[in-house]
């Protein structure tokens, strides 16, 4: 019944459909056009932008850190080396959920509070993006295995095998070699752009000691490689490579043998030993006790270990040899005597009567000699041998503080020695001008008298005392101590006495100090070579008010510091030693034997026979300074 209708509609429907189909075709073509335009936009117009994006995705430039130079002693004994160390690192940018990741990691390897704490600190501090943040060092084989098995489900985790600095002799060289530790943003900020580029792949930076001073030489030059990585950061191939230039190896002038002897001889006492070869300024031993274990600092010291060091009353992190300022006491009497002679205020014949004290005219105050009843009649020779205070009170007063100051500066007292270490203390050699400027007080006669026996304002470091002794042994020729051949730029000319024979005569007096009547006789017992020495005892004036010690300790720490300066063989000096023993009371009996041990270690061969070692010759040092070593000290003559 509807059939005719349908038939009639059929053509109409087909016509409608035809129109719609054409519209459909048109729509399809239109949308295809949209797609093609979009493709042209992306692939032709924006092509270069996306090519860059694509390359940035896959190509990464990686800096390769240069292997750090080794440090050896003068005989080639390794003092600082690089060891492979497997550490666990986290690339924060690759992690999804850091807390969850750390929780998972803690199930696999041991993470103590210190690890977490250091990790958080490093993570929050300014760092290069995508740089792995170390989480734990010193992974064991077993831990590595556990991590590797689980690594696929812990994105962002990385095990690296970077070489890590290692100090095989631990505590022995702690205050001289120092240590490296992780480079931080502040280190980088202090660098020039070129330096920053050079440190692009470096994780460690010399923090103290030789490691710091010779950072530039030890570090080397950065290498680069371009690698293609996939989305998970895995390196698929190396596109280009420029290998790093390794850091230079550094041969120190130190002698392991002498260092060890000095360290052992000091024992558990607090103190410092510095030994210098006066012939070329080579530092043979540089000990400050107590020391610390530099290896603890390299990969980041734990809070516990660090506070243990910080809270130790013996202050093991303090470099006594370089920075400890002590009254030099009688140890500077030979230098003062030479100053008095040269200034003409005394001579070898002149003598005084010592009643056991010294008094200025119109002043009732008595400056006491250490020997209550006095030394009787004393000339300069005897005054040195027996360390007569009264003689030096008298001579010093006549010399006056300003001349004293100038002469002592020539001996490096009150001036930096110029050793190749940073942050050297310059001690204090007072003058009228200094007191006016820094204390805002006039200079009193009493100040001069105290300074005449190395007390009062006078302060010197063990390094300065060793240097002064070496200069004395050298007859005034300058000695600038050096650990590895370089020195700080300083101005100090040779000390030329009007009568050069005074050097010889003073040396004789110092030799008699170790003779049967001298204050340092103990140290010369059975010595195979003549030793020139001068003992010293420095009063400890005060203990800090805010420091709390128990009764025994306060008593012990109020005792005098024991000092000894010496050189040997007296007729042809090859070593000058300064020894400081804190609260060691008597220089002669406490510090003297230490100095003797150090000298024996240097001057005697294995069989105990005298065999003076030759001056250091730069053999393996690749980048020795242009001037030969023997010229280093004389080079200072013409500023």
């Amino acid at each position: 019944m509807r059939r005719p209708l349908t038939l009639k509609d059929h053509h109409h429907e087909q016509r409608i459909f035809g129109v719609r189909l054409v519209v459909g075709v048109f729509l399809v073509l239109l949308l295809t056009g949209v797609l093609i335009s979009r493709m042209v936009w992306l692939q032709v117009i924006e092509h270069s932008r996306y090519t860059t994006l694509s390359d940035n995705n896959r190509v990464q430039t990686q800096a390769m850190s240069p292997p750090r130079g080794l440090i050896t002693d003068r005989d080639g004994v390794i003092l600082a080396e690089n060891r492979p160390d497997f550490s666990l690192e986290v690339i924060i940018e690759q992690t999804r959920d850091l807390d969850a990741l750390l929780t998972e990691v803690a199930k696999l390897v041991e993470l103590d509070e210190g690890d977490r704490e250091r990790f958080d600190k490093r993570r929050r501090s300014a760092r290069r993006p995508w740089e792995p943040v170390p989480l734990r060092g010193r992974l064991t084989e077993e831990e590595i295995a556990r991590l590797v098995v689980n690594q696929h489900r812990l994105p962002g985790l990385r095990i690296s095998a970077d070489p890590v600095r290692h100090y095989p002799h631990d505590i022995l060289f702690s205050h001289v070699i120092g240590y490296v530790n992780r480079i931080n943003a502040q280190d980088l900020d202090n660098m020039t752009l070129d330096q920053q580029r050079d440190y692009a792949g470096t994780h460690f930076y010399g923090r103290t000691g030789i490691e710091r001073f010779y950072e530039d030489r030890l570090h080397g030059e950065v290498g680069y490689r371009q690698v293609e990585t996939n989305a998970r950061g895995r390196i698929l191939r190396v596109l280009e490579e420029q290998p790093p230039v390794p850091g230079q190896d550094l041969t120190l002038r130190l002698s392991m043998r002498v260092q060890q002897a000095a360290y052992d001889a000091l024992g558990d006492r607090r103190g410092a030993v510095v030994a210098i070869d006066p012939r070329d300024g080579s530092v043979l031993a540089f000990v400050s006790r107590p020391g610390f274990n530099p290896n603890l600092f390299v990969t980041g010291i734990s809070h516990k270990d660090y506070s243990a060091y910080r809270n130790d009353h013996d202050n093991p992190l303090f470099n006594r040899a370089l920075q400890g300022r002590y009254p030099p006491g009688s140890t500077i009497k030979p230098m003062l005597g030479l100053a008095g002679l040269d200034a003409g205020v005394t001579n070898w014949q002149r003598s005084i009567r010592d009643p056991g004290f010294y008094q200025l005219e119109n002043d009732p105050h008595r400056y006491r000699d250490w020997k209550r009843w006095g030394h009787g009649r004393v000339d300069l020779h005897l005054a040195v041998v027996q360390s007569c205070d009264t003689y030096f009170y008298d001579m010093g007063f006549k010399l006056g503080i300003d001349r004293m100051h100038d002469y002592m500066n020539q001996f490096s007292i009150g001036q930096v020695t110029g050793i190749d270490l940073d942050n050297e203390s310059q001690g204090l050699m007072p003058s009228k001008q200094w007191k006016k400027a820094f204390r805002n007080r006039p200079w009193f006669h009493g100040d001069t008298i105290n300074a005449s026996i190395g007390q009062g304002f006078v302060l010197a470091t063990p390094l300065q005392l060793a240097t002064a002794t070496a200069i004395t042994a050298n007859h005034g020729k300058q000695v600038i101590p050096t650990l590895a051949g370089e020195q700080q730029a300083i101005e100090r000319s040779d000390l030329v006495l009007q009568d050069e024979s005074n050097w010889e005569k003073m040396t004789n007096a110092m030799v008699d100090v170790t003779g049967p009547k001298g204050t340092a006789r103990v140290m010369a017992v059975n010595a195979q070579y003549p030793i020139a020495a001068k003992s010293g005892t420095a009063q400890v004036f005060s203990v800090g008010q805010d420091e709390t010690y128990n009764e025994d300790e306060i008593a012990e720490r109020m005792l005098d510091h024991a000092l000894m300066v010496s050189f040997a063989p007296a007729d042809n000096p090859a070593i000058a030693v300064a020894v400081l023993v804190e609260n060691g009371r008597h220089g002669g009996s406490t510090a003297g034997p230490v100095a003797r041990e150090v000298m024996d270690a240097w001057l005697l061969d294995k069989d105990g026979n005298l065999n003076v070692p030759a001056v250091f010759a730069a053999k393996s040092e690749t980048a020795a300074p242009p001037s030969p070593d023997s010229d280093e000290t004389s080079g200072e003559e013409s500023p």
Partner: protein, 381 residues
């Protein structure tokens, strides 16, 4: 009855007179089949690279193609009138299954799309609906006079809206929209008045923000956010689209070369063998490759239009044009989303993307088109 009799007696002759040959006798449309096979072959080439030179992936895709071609062949044997006859039945069964999916479906990736049948494994009823909805709407209009009256339009909208809504509830917004679109195409082809089309467009434009705020799931909303501003979270939700655009853009005019696309080979491009396979093609074969692909699609779509144009009854015309338009919508939506023109809605690139049941459904739809083409009668009515 007499017509059927007549037809049964001379199938060979009838075929021979229209388009002679073996393909015709097997009820296959040679041009369509040839262009489909070319597209599939090209797709396999890209897939081999996208899958990291994995033959396994290619072989599995070939198995799917085989299953799809079989489905196509089988469906091509049925005359269009049997589709017309069965459309309401299959549509009704499909609706029931969609309800079942919501009640007892298997969950995967936060959506219930699968129905487990003991002994038969899992399947997605929504795939059946991709064919059943256009067939049903075409049947609906073939029973009525055209252009459709308002009441008929409402009826059609219910027919297509019901399954779309059920699929949207799974939730599978992408498929829901595509199924709705396939029904709407029928409506459009049936002669829906331009006035109503204009009204619909206005309604959709105003409803879109409302959908965003009140209907969409969080993950869907995220996709839209990402679409509008992928740079907001370049390492998170924006990653896919940024990497996809980078792959396409870095391909340039002539591409980086087969197997040399760094974006996909180095795993920067996610889902490179499935939804984002166009990015691989664009990166390795450049604009030239994309144009070739588009030409292949246009040839197929063109043939589909031609078949629909030649179709002899309203049902066939509406069904055929809807199937082929839907096919093109797939292409457009996928390409649009991969190039950042449209939000990411999880639509595969037809016959190129590696993947599941959609290949079988697609090839089955071409089987229906072939059926329309090869079961034509000498006399149209």
């Amino acid at each position: 009855m007499s017509q059927r009799e007549f037809f049964r007696q001379m199938p060979g002759q009838g075929g021979a007179s229209l388009s002679p040959g073996l393909a015709e006798r097997l009820h296959l449309d040679a041009p369509l089949l040839a262009s489909l096979l070319m597209l599939m072959l090209g797709g396999l080439t890209v897939l081999y690279s996208a899958g990291g030179e994995s033959m396994e992936l290619v072989v599995r895709q070939c198995i799917r193609f085989g299953a799809g071609l079989a489905a196509m062949f089988v469906l091509a044997q049925f005359p269009p009138r049997s589709y017309r006859f069965w459309a309401p039945v299959i549509y009704t069964i499909g609706l029931i299954l969609l309800v079942l999916v919501l009640v007892a479906g298997t969950e995967a990736k936060g959506a219930q799309r699968w129905l487990s049948i003991p002994g038969l494994g899992r399947f997605q009823p929504s795939e059946v609906m991709k064919l059943a909805v256009p067939a049903m709407v075409a049947w609906f209009f073939s029973e009525r006079t055209l252009p459709p009256k308002l009441l008929d339009v409402i009826g059609a909208l219910i027919l297509l809206g019901l399954p779309a809504m059920l699929i949207g509830l799974q939730p599978d917004l992408g498929t829901a929209i595509l199924i709705a679109a396939s029904g709407l195409v029928v409506l459009f082809m049936a002669g829906l008045s331009w006035r109503l089309i204009a009204v619909a467009v206005i309604v959709v434009v105003t409803a879109a923000p409302l959908m965003y705020f009140f209907v969409m799931h969080d993950y869907q909303r995220n996709r839209v956010d990402t679409f509008l501003n992928p740079e907001a979270d370049p390492r998170g939700t924006g990653w896919n689209i940024i990497q996809s655009k980078t792959a396409i853009g870095s391909g340039g005019i002539d591409g980086k070369g087969w197997l040399d696309g760094t974006q996909s080979r180095l795993d920067f491009l996610p889902e490179s063998s499935t939804d984002f396979i166009l990015a691989v093609l664009s990166e390795e074969f450049g604009l030239v490759g994309v144009c070739i692909l588009l030409i292949m699609y246009l040839v197929i779509v063109g043939r589909g239009f031609f078949i629909s144009w030649q179709a002899q009854d309203t049902f066939s015309r509406l069904l055929g044009s809807s199937l082929i338009m839907t096919f093109f919508i797939y292409v457009f939506v996928n390409m649009g989303m991969v190039t950042g023109l449209l939000p990411v809605v999880g639509v595969p690139l037809p016959l190129v993307s590696y993947g599941g049941t959609s290949i079988v459904t697609l090839l089955a739809s071409f089987g229906m088109l072939m059926s329309i083409q090869t079961h034509r009668r000498l006399i149209s009515y």
